[in-house]
Amino acid sequence: MSIEIKVNGETRQVEPGVSVAALLAQLGIEPRHLAVEHNGEFIGEDEFAAATLSAGDRLEIVRFVGGG
């Protein structure tokens, strides 16, 4: 059984209780140059392991890229 969350505007199915760190790993996202907002709150890299996801959570995973 999985729960539904929103990641970067897309609906995703994840296991309940999964941590942000684990999700990033599953998604193949290196935790580098990232800013992560969990339900509207920024969380630091050191919080990724402790932050767990519940049904309906919203996650924004943002990275800096080339720009002018």
Partner: protein
């Protein structure tokens, strides 16, 4: 020229460089290196979940450059402030190029939203470098709310058209007490040199370098042009005249006068 200091940080180079639109990470990193720039803009974007690796910036040695994340994509103050927070979280710097560009065709900045966002961001501890139209009164107001520079445009972003706002930028320079960085539209080294000769404190260039066939050579070209203009200003240029001023002596001609 007096040394360029932004938010107590001295810069030796008056050329700032953007990292968008380069053909490869390697060319980008090499161009940044060749530009001699110490301040490098980046954008903030959602990670693409289908293709989570973005190698573009991987080649850049972040220890050597100060990052200047921008708020490109923001259409109003609220979006800009939110982007700014992501920027600070991701880059761990309070420096911010504030861009609020509601119009998708010319990407021109919104003066109202820019001032509103700037005011809030300064309060939040950001070091704000706002991208603006060549508007001297807006520039003063941004100074007044605590912006670290003003960055008036030469021409629309990426248009390579040169210093089309010369008369108004001249007024901004005359009145500013913070550094004036001419941003957007500088397409050739002569454009950058013209801006510095006019009295701008620095220029920010991205497209002209990134889309050149040889970005590294173009980066170096801009570097030299900016240095040339800085040297020229310090050299005390003579003024313009309407009549000719002979460069050879006006005596000793081989004829009886």
């Amino acid at each position: 020229m007096k040394p360029l200091i932004i938010a107590d940080t001295p810069f030796r180079s008056r050329l700032f460089i953007g990292t968008g639109k380069f053909p490869s990470p390697q060319s980008m990193a090499a161009a940044v290196e060749a530009s001699g720039s110490e301040l490098v803009t980046v954008a903030l974007r959602r990670v693409d979940l289908k293709s989570p690796e973005d190698p573009m910036l991987a080649a850049l040695d972040f220890s050597r450059y100060r990052l200047l994340p921008n708020t490109s994509g923001a259409r109003d103050a609220e979006e800009a402030v939110r982007l700014a927070k992501f920027a600070r979280a991701a880059t761990r710097t309070p420096w911010l190029k504030l861009e609020v560009t509601p119009d998708p065709y010319y990407l021109l900045p919104d003066p109202i939203e820019t001032l509103k966002a700037a005011e809030e961001l300064v309060k939040l501890g950001f070091i704000v470098l706002p991208y603006i139209n060549a508007d001297p009164v807006l520039a003063k107001r941004l100074e007044d709310v605590g912006c670290a520079t003003v960055m008036p445009l030469a021409a629309p972003i990426g248009s390579n058209r040169g210093l089309k706002t010369r008369d108004l930028i001249e007024i901004i320079i005359e009145q500013a007490t913070v550094p004036v960085v001419v941003d957007a539209g500088l397409g050739m080294p002569s454009h950058a040199a013209e801006a510095i000769e006019l009295g701008a404190d620095a220029v920010l260039v991205n497209t002209a370098i990134a889309i050149a066939e040889d970005p590294v050579a173009m980066a170096r070209a801009f570097k030299l042009a900016v240095e040339a203009a800085e040297l020229a200003r310090d050299a005390g240029p003579g003024g313009e005249s309407k009549l000719a001023q002979a460069s050879s002596p006006l005596t000793g001609f081989l004829r009886e006068e």
